[in-house]
C-alpha cells in the first residue's frame, strides 16, 4: 500500500504548518506543505493527495474575522476542486484556524436557506487564551476520532466559541452525530463552566464533522500533543509512548491502509 499523501495548506499567517506536517509523518504519512497561491495557480494539485489539512495560525492575520479571508478564497476560487476531493472519499481536517476556515467556507457544513448553520465567534472571555482542556469524543461517525474516547489537548485561540444559527440547527447537527468532540469537566455529568469549556461554546462543542464523518474541524491542537513531554504534567506521570493527539493523525493515515 502506498504511503498516504497529506497536503498541509498554508496561507500568509499560517503558523502551525511545520509541526502539523511532522505529526502526519510521525503517524506514517507523507506530508507536503503547500502555499494557497500554488493551489490558486493550479487547482488540480489536491488530486494527488489523500488528506487535506488546514492547520492553525492566523491566516491573513485573522483580519476582518478569524479564517474569513482564506475561507472566502476557498469558497469562491477552490470550491469545485475541494467538493470533488470530498466526493472522492478523501479526508479533510481543519485545526483551530483551519476549523474556522472550514466552517466559514461551507466545506464542513452545507449552507442552509439562511446561510451557514453555525460559526465560531469570539470567546466569552473576550481574549486569546492558551490552556489545556479535557475532551470527550463520540467516535461513531468521525473517521479521525476512531477508537478515541477522551483525550487532553491544548486550545489556543480567541475566536473558538461554537454557535449555531438557531436551536433547530443545533438539534439537527446533534441528531446527525456531527457534534463529535466536546469539552469535558474533571467529573462527567455536571454542566461545564469556564475554563473547562474555555470559550463558551454551545453544547460544549470543540469539534464538528460533516455528515460523512470524513471532514472534521476542531479547535484544540492535536499536533501539540504527540510527544509525552508536550503534556503540562508529564513530570508528574509515568513515562508514556506518545501523546493523545497522535491517534487523530494515525486514524487519518490508517483510513487509507
Amino acid at each position: 500500500m502506498a504511503i498516504p499523501r497529506v497536503l498541509v495548506l498554508r496561507a500568509p499567517g499560517t503558523n502551525c504548518d511545520q509541526e502539523t506536517a511532522f505529526a502526519f509523518e510521525r503517524a506514517g504519512g507523507r506530508a507536503e506543505v503547500v502555499h494557497v497561491n500554488r493551489l490558486l495557480d493550479d487547482p488540480q494539485i489536491p488530486c494527488d493527495f489523500q488528506v487535506l489539512c488546514i492547520p492553525g495560525g492566523f491566516s491573513f492575520g485573522d483580519d476582518v474575522a478569524a479564517g474569513k479571508i482564506l475561507a472566502n478564497l476557498i469558497r469562491h476560487h477552490l470550491g469545485a476542486v475541494l467538493a470533488e476531493f470530498k466526493a472522492a472519499g478523501k479526508l479533510i481536517l481543519g485545526i483551530c484556524n483551519g476549523f474556522q476556515v472550514l466552517i466559514k467556507s461551507g466545506l464542513l457544513l452545507d449552507d442552509g436557506n439562511l446561510g451557514p448553520p453555525a460559526t465560531l465567534m469570539w470567546n466569552d472571555s473576550g481574549k486569546y487564551e492558551d490552556r489545556w482542556v479535557r475532551l470527550l469524543a463520540e467516535p461513531e461517525k468521525c473517521v479521525f476520532l476512531r477508537g478515541i474516547d477522551g483525550l487532553e489537548l491544548p486550545v489556543a485561540h480567541a475566536e473558538g466559541k461554537f454557535v449555531a444559527r438557531d436551536p433547530a440547527a443545533l438539534a439537527r447537527l446533534q441528531d446527525q452525530q456531527q457534534l463529535c468532540l466536546r469539552y469535558a469537566g474533571s467529573e462527567n455529568g455536571s454542566p461545564l463552566s469556564y475554563p473547562d469549556n474555555p470559550n463558551g461554546s454551545q453544547a460544549d462543542v470543540a469539534g464538528v464533522c460533516d455528515p460523512s464523518g470524513r471532514v472534521f474541524g476542531m479547535m484544540p491542537h492535536p499536533e501539540r500533543h504527540i510527544d509525552p513531554t508536550h503534556h503540562p504534567q508529564w513530570t508528574r506521570r509515568p513515562p508514556a509512548e506518545s501523546g493523545d493527539g497522535l491517534q487523530i493523525f494515525r486514524n487519518a493515515i490508517a483510513y487509507f491502509q
Binding site: G13, G61, T119, R165
Partner: protein
C-alpha cells in the same frame, strides 16, 4: 465616487461584549459607573461602488450572519448614527479612527480580500464607534481619550461622521535642502540639534561643522540625519561603549570602552579558558549573539527594549517592540528562524489612583493592558511561542514603563557568516515605507517629558505581524536556496542604519525614489530614515535576483532593488537622478568625537533594617508569619501572572517541554521554560531571566550579581547544564550624564564581569536604554523628575542534553523529602519582607560566585541522574514563598523544621533567626524534593555544598513550619495551601 460605511453590530439578541468591556474598563479606572455603552466596528470604503456591491461585500466578507448584523449607507446618512439600543434615549456618539498614515492591518487585508472578488476600491479604513448613555456630554471628549482612543495614533470624532473622502497622500515635489551649518554659532548648533530632533551633543555638532568646513560645503538635510541616526545613543551606544572615568570606594578606573573592558572582556576570558571547547560562535557583533546548539544548529538570542514608544502608545510600542526584536535573529548570520519569545515588563502599580497621575502619563493599568495585548497580538500571529517573562512593579516606572522583548532563533551551523559584496543589489523586502516611525532612534535616546506625545508622535507605530511572517517565510526559503550574500533588519534608523551598516566596509549607492511607499508625499530624507516596520534589507547578487524576486512574488511579498553596493567607500544617496547625499563611510562610522564621561559611585553605608520612620521594627508575633507570607505572595512582583501568560501562545511550533505554568492544576510558577527548537530532536533550550531593581537602591554591584545568579539558578532549576548558559544584559537606567547615575551603571557592569567569569556564563549580546526619566510640571508649576530605579535585566539561554531529564517545581509525592541547598544569611535588605513591611535598610544579598558555581554543578548532576523530583529556586520572598509555591503547585502539603537549614546569621541579628531563615533572599539557594530511595545518592552528589533535609512532603494540604521537624517544637507558621494559592492568584486575576 461615494464614501461608503459598513457597520457591524452583534446580531439581535446577542450581548454586546465590546460595549460591556469598555464599560468595565471605565469602572476600573474610576471614570464612570453604571454607564450604558453600545459598540460597533466598521469599514469605510472609497470607490466607484453601488449599494448592491457594498451590501454584497458586507454580507460575504465583512460580517458573519450567524452572529452579526450590518448597517450599510453612505457616510453621513442618519441611519449610521442611530443607536442600536432603542431604550437608550439620546446617547453621545463617538467615532474612533486611526490617524491618516497609521498602520491599519485590517484595512490592508480587507482591501486585498475585496480585490480577490474582482471589485476595485481606492481606499479602505476601519473605525470603531460607541453610543454612551449616562455620561455628562461635556466630559465625553475626555472619556474618549482616556478610555476609547490614544491621541498619538487615533482621532476621535464626536457625533455623526462627516467625511467626504479618505486622505491617501499627495505627490511629492522634489526639493534639495541644505543646512547652512558652517556659519552657525554654538548656541545655534544646539538649537538645530534640538529642534531638528537630532539629539546630538554640542561637541558632536561642532565636529560635524568642522567636517563640512573642511569639505567646503554645507550638508544636505539627509546627510545630517544620517549622522544623527548613526551617532545616536540607540545605534552607537556611545555612552557605555565610550570613555569613562570611574571612581568608587576601591579607587579610580579609566575605561577606553567601558562595555568592552567589563562585559565583553569576561566573555573573552571564558572563551580563552574553554579553548577548543569554546561554544560561543559570534558575540557582540551581529544583530544577536550566536552560540553552538548541536552539530547542525546554532542558537541566537537578543533582547531589546521599546520603552519610550510604549509609554506613549502601549499597544503599538510593545507590538513593534516584539516585532522589532524578532527581526534581530532574522537578520543574524544569514537569517535565523525565531523559535521563542521572552518578555519582561516594569510598570507602576496598577492600583495607582487615576487622579494622582502627572500630566501626560497614561494610567499604569491601561499601560499594562496595552503592552500585554501588543505583545500577544504580534507574537501569537508570528507563530512564535512566548515562553518566559516577568513583571516588576515600582511607582518610579509611572512615566517611564519598561518593555523588554526578546527572541531566540535557530540558525543552521553553516549559515552563521554573511558578507555583502560589491556589485550586489541592495534589496528591500516586506512592508512599505511611510512617515511612521520618523526619528525613533534619536527619540529613544531622549528624555521623556509631558509634551513628548505632541513632539514625537511620529515615532509611535503599530505593527503588522502578518507582513513580517510573510517576510520570514520567504527569507528562510531564500536562505536555504543560497539566493543572497547578507541580510539585516531595518530597525532604528531604517534604511539609513541598515544600508549604512551593511555597506560599512564597501560603499553603497541608493536610489531612494525606488522604495515602495505606503502613500505619496514622502521626502527623500523621510524615505531614508523612516522606521516603518516589517522591512529587511538583503544583499542579492545579480545572478540570483530573478529567482529571488520570483520567490517573493509567489508569496505576495514585495521585493525592490533600491541600490547597489559599490566599492567606493562612500555612501551616495540619490533621488530621481539627483545626488542628495554623499558621505564617507569612514566619517559616518568613525568620525564621532570621543567624550570622556565621569562616573562616581559611593556605596551607601549599610543601615539596620528599620521602619521608614526609623523606629526599630517589633519582632513578628506568633501568627504574623502566615500573614506576612500571604502579604508577600499577594505582592505584585510575586503574585501569579497567569492573566498575562495565558494570553500568549506558549506552545506553537510543537516543541514545548516545560511551560511557564506547571503543576497539578497547570498554574504553578515555573522557574524557566524549556522547549525543543528542533522538533525531531530531544535536545532542549532553556530560557530564564533575573532582575531585582529593589537591590539596586542599596548597591548596584550586588543587584547585578544577584540578577545573574537568579537567571542562572532559574535555568539550572529546570535542568539546564550550567556549563552551557549564555547571558544577555539589558541596562535600563536614568540620566547617565549625571556622574552618580552613570557610576551606578558602571558598578553593575563590573559585577557582570566578575560573576560571569566565576560562573563561566559568557555574555553574548546586550543592549542599553539610557535617560529613562520623566519630567513634568506639578500643580505649583515646579519641574518634577521621576527617574527609574537602576533596572538590569539578565536573560539566560541554557541547554539540556535530553529534555526528559527536566524537572518542574511542583511537589510530587507525599512522603518525599525536602532539601534546602545553599546558605541563608541575614540579607533582608531590598527583600519583599522589607517591601510589604514598609522597612528600609538592611544588608542586600551578596553573592559567593565560587560556591554558586559549585552548587549549580552539583544540582545539575543530581537532576541529570534523576534524583530530583522537584526543584525550585529561592528568590523574592525567600524560603517561605518558595515552599508555598511548590506546595500549592503540587496540591500537596509540606512540613518543615527550620533548625537544620544551613545558615550564617549572627546571634544578634535584628529580626529573629526564624524570620531571616524564612524570608531572607540570600543567593544561590534552591529547594529539592527527593524520594527517600534516592536520599543517599542525592546527598552524596551535593558533597561540599551546604545542604540539609528540612522536612517532607505531606498529604494534609497545609504548609507547616516549626523551629524543628519534631512535632513538639514551636510552631511558627501554618496555613492551608489553597488559601496561600488564593492570596497569590487574586491580585492580578483580571
Amino acid at each position: 465616487m461615494t464614501l461608503w460605511e459598513i457597520d457591524i453590530h452583534p446580531a439581535q439578541g446577542l450581548p454586546d461584549s465590546a460595549g460591556q468591556r469598555v464599560a468595565a474598563d471605565a469602572a476600573d479606572l474610576g471614570l464612570g459607573r453604571n454607564l450604558a455603552i453600545r459598540a460597533a466596528h466598521g469599514y469605510l470604503l472609497q470607490g466607484d461602488l453601488d449599494r448592491a456591491q457594498v451590501e454584497w461585500l458586507a454580507s460575504q466578507l465583512f460580517s458573519d450572519s450567524v452572529v452579526e448584523r450590518t448597517v450599510v449607507a453612505p457616510v453621513g446618512d442618519a441611519v449610521l448614527s442611530q443607536t442600536p439600543d432603542p431604550a437608550a434615549g439620546s446617547p453621545s456618539l463617538i467615532h474612533v479612527l486611526r490617524k491618516p498614515g497609521v498602520m491599519d492591518p485590517v484595512a490592508q487585508s480587507a482591501a486585498q480580500a475585496i480585490a480577490d472578488f474582482n471589485v476595485t476600491v481606492d481606499a479602505v479604513r476601519t473605525l470603531r464607534k460607541y453610543w454612551i448613555t449616562g455620561l455628562d456630554p461635556a466630559t465625553v471628549p475626555q472619556f474618549g481619550s482616556k478610555i476609547l482612543a490614544n491621541d498619538s495614533i487615533e482621532q476621535l470624532v464626536m457625533g455623526p461622521l462627516e467625511l467626504t473622502e479618505l486622505h491617501v497622500g499627495s505627490p511629492h515635489q522634489f526639493q534639495l535642502v541644505t543646512v547652512p551649518i558652517r556659519e552657525l554659532q554654538d548656541d545655534a548648533l544646539l538649537q538645530l540639534s534640538r529642534e531638528g530632533q537630532l539629539y546630538l551633543t554640542l561637541v558632536e555638532m561642532q565636529t560635524i561643522r568642522q567636517f563640512y568646513r573642511d569639505l567646503g560645503r554645507d550638508p544636505t538635510d539627509i546627510e545630517l540625519e544620517t549622522l544623527a541616526q548613526t551617532w545616536s545613543e540607540h545605534c552607537s551606544h556611545k555612552t557605555l561603549a565610550g570613555r569613562i572615568a570611574y571612581r568608587d570606594d576601591r579607587g579610580e578606573q579609566h575605561f577606553e570602552n567601558m562595555l568592552k573592558e567589563t562585559i565583553f572582556a569576561a566573555t573573552q576570558e571564558i572563551r580563552r579558558r574553554l579553548g577548543k571547547d569554546d561554544w560561543c560562535v559570534s558575540v557582540f557583533k551581529d544583530n544577536a549573539g550566536v552560540v553552538r546548539f548541536d552539530d547542525d544548529y546554532h542558537v541566537v538570542f537578543k533582547v531589546e527594549t521599546h520603552n519610550h514608544p510604549s509609554a506613549l502608545e502601549p499597544y503599538g510600542g510593545a507590538n513593534t517592540g516584539i516585532g522589532g526584536v524578532i527581526r534581530d535573529p532574522m537578520g543574524t548570520g544569514m537569517g535565523a528562524k525565531p523559535v521563542c519569545n521572552t518578555d519582561v515588563f516594569c510598570f507602576a502599580p496598577p492600583d495607582t489612583p487615576a487622579d494622582q497621575l502627572p500630566p501626560g502619563v497614561l494610567h499604569p493599568r491601561r499601560v499594562m493592558k496595552g503592552v500585554v495585548s501588543g505583545v500577544r497580538d504580534y507574537g501569537n500571529r508570528m507563530g512564535i511561542p512566548t515562553v518566559n517573562g516577568a513583571i516588576y512593579f515600582d511607582p518610579r516606572y509611572l512615566g517611564n514603563p519598561l518593555v523588554y522583548c526578546g527572541n531566540v532563533g535557530l540558525l543552521p551551523a553553516d549559515k552563521a557568516e554573511k558578507q555583502p559584496r560589491a556589485g550586489d543589489w541592495i534589496v528591500a523586502i516586506g512592508g512599505r515605507t511611510g512617515r511612521d516611525g520618523i526619528h525613533g532612534a534619536t527619540f529613544s535616546s531622549a528624555e521623556l517629558t509631558s509634551e513628548s506625545e505632541t513632539l514625537s508622535g511620529g515615532a509611535v507605530q503599530i505593527g503588522n505581524a502578518i507582513t513580517e511572517k510573510m517576510v520570514l517565510d520567504v527569507l528562510i526559503q531564500a536562505r536555504d536556496r543560497g539566493l543572497y550574500h547578507a541580510v539585516t533588519d531595518c530597525g532604528a534608523g531604517g534604511f539609513s542604519s541598515a544600508v549604512g551598516e551593511m555597506g560599512e566596509e564597501i560603499g553603497a549607492e541608493v536610489w531612494l525614489e525606488r522604495a515602495p511607499l505606503k502613500y505619496e508625499g514622502l521626502t527623500y530624507t523621510e524615505i531614508w530614515i523612516s522606521e516603518a516596520q516589517e522591512r529587511m534589507v538583503l544583499s542579492v547578487p545579480p545572478e540570483h535576483w530573478e529567482e529571488f524576486a520570483e520567490l517573493c512574488r509567489s508569496e505576495d511579498v514585495e521585493a525592490t532593488i533600491i541600490g547597489r553596493f559599490e566599492s567606493t567607500g562612500c555612501l551616495e544617496l540619490k533621488y530621481d537622478g539627483h545626488t542628495v547625499g554623499q558621505l564617507s563611510m569612514e566619517f559616518l562610522h568613525d568620525g564621532r568625537p570621543p567624550v570622556v564621561r565621569s562616573a562616581v559611585f559611593e556605596p551607601p553605608p549599610v543601615q539596620l533594617l528599620t521602619g521608614i520612620d526609623g523606629a526599630p521594627r517589633p519582632e513578628p508575633q506568633d501568627d504574623d508569619a502566615a500573614s506576612i507570607l500571604r502579604a508577600i505572595l499577594g505582592s505584585l512582583n510575586v503574585a501569579s501572572k497567569e492573566w498575562v501568560i495565558r494570553q500568549y501562545d506558549h506552545e506553537v511550533q510543537g516543541g514545548s517541554v516545560i511551560k511557564p505554568l506547571v503543576g497539578v492544576a497547570n498554574d504553578g510558577p515555573s522557574d524557566a521554560a524549556v522547549l525543543r527548537p528542533v522538533i525531531s530532536s530531544r535536545r532542549g533550550l532553556v530560557v530564564a531571566c533575573g532582575m531585582n531593581p529593589h537591590y539596586g537602591d542599596l548597591d548596584p554591584y550586588h543587584m547585578a550579581a544577584s540578577a545573574i545568579d537568579e537567571a542562572v539558578r532559574n535555568a539550572v532549576a529546570v535542568g539546564a547544564d550550567p556549563q552551557r548558559i549564555a547571558l544577555l544584559d539589558n541596562f535600563c537606567w536614568g540620566y547617565t550624564d549625571r556622574p552618580e547615575t552613570l557610576g551606578s551603571l558602571v558598578r553593575a557592569a563590573l559585577a557582570c564581569h566578575d560573576v560571569a567569569v566565576a560562573l563561566g556564563t559568557p555574555f553574548v549580546s546586550g543592549k542599553d536604554s539610557l535617560n529613562n526619566e520623566f519630567s513634568y510640571e506639578d500643580e505649583q508649576g515646579k519641574r518634577q523628575t521621576i527617574s527609574i530605579p537602576p533596572s538590569l535585566l539578565i536573560s539566560a539561554l541554557g541547554q539540556v542534553e535530553d529534555v526528559r531529564q527536566c524537572v518542574t517545581m511542583d511537589l510530587k509525592q507525599p512522603g518525599n523529602l525536602i532539601y534546602l541547598v545553599g546558605t541563608t544569611r541575614d540579607e533582608l535588605g531590598g527583600s519583599h519582607f522589607a517591601l510589604v513591611g514598609g522597612l528600609t535598610g538592611g544588608q542586600v544579598p551578596v553573592l559567593d560566585p565560587r560556591m554558586a558555581a559549585k552548587t549549580y554543578a552539583a544540582i545539575h548532576a543530581a537532576i541529570r541522574n534523576g534524583w530530583v523530583r522537584a526543584c525550585h529556586d529561592l528568590s523574592e520572598g525567600g524560603l517561605a514563598v518558595a515552599l508555598a509555591e511548590m506546595a500549592f503547585a503540587g496540591g500537596c502539603g509540606a512540613s518543615i523544621g527550620l533548625d537544620a537549614a544551613p545558615h550564617q546569621v549572627e546571634a544578634t541579628a535584628a529580626p529573629s533567626l526564624e524570620t531571616v531563615l524564612m524570608f531572607a533572599e540570600s543567593n544561590s539557594r534552591l529547594l529539592c524534593e527527593v524520594s527517600p530511595d534516592d536520599r543517599q545518592a542525592f546527598e552524596a552528589s551535593l558533597d561540599g555544598v551546604p545542604h540539609a533535609r528540612i522536612g517532607q512532603v505531606t498529604d494534609d494540604g497545609r504548609l507547616t513550619i516549626r523551629t524543628a521537624e519534631d512535632p513538639q517544637s514551636r510552631l511558627i507558621l501554618q496555613a492551608d495551601v489553597y488559601e496561600l494559592k488564593e492570596a497569590w492568584q487574586k491580585p492580578l486575576r483580571w
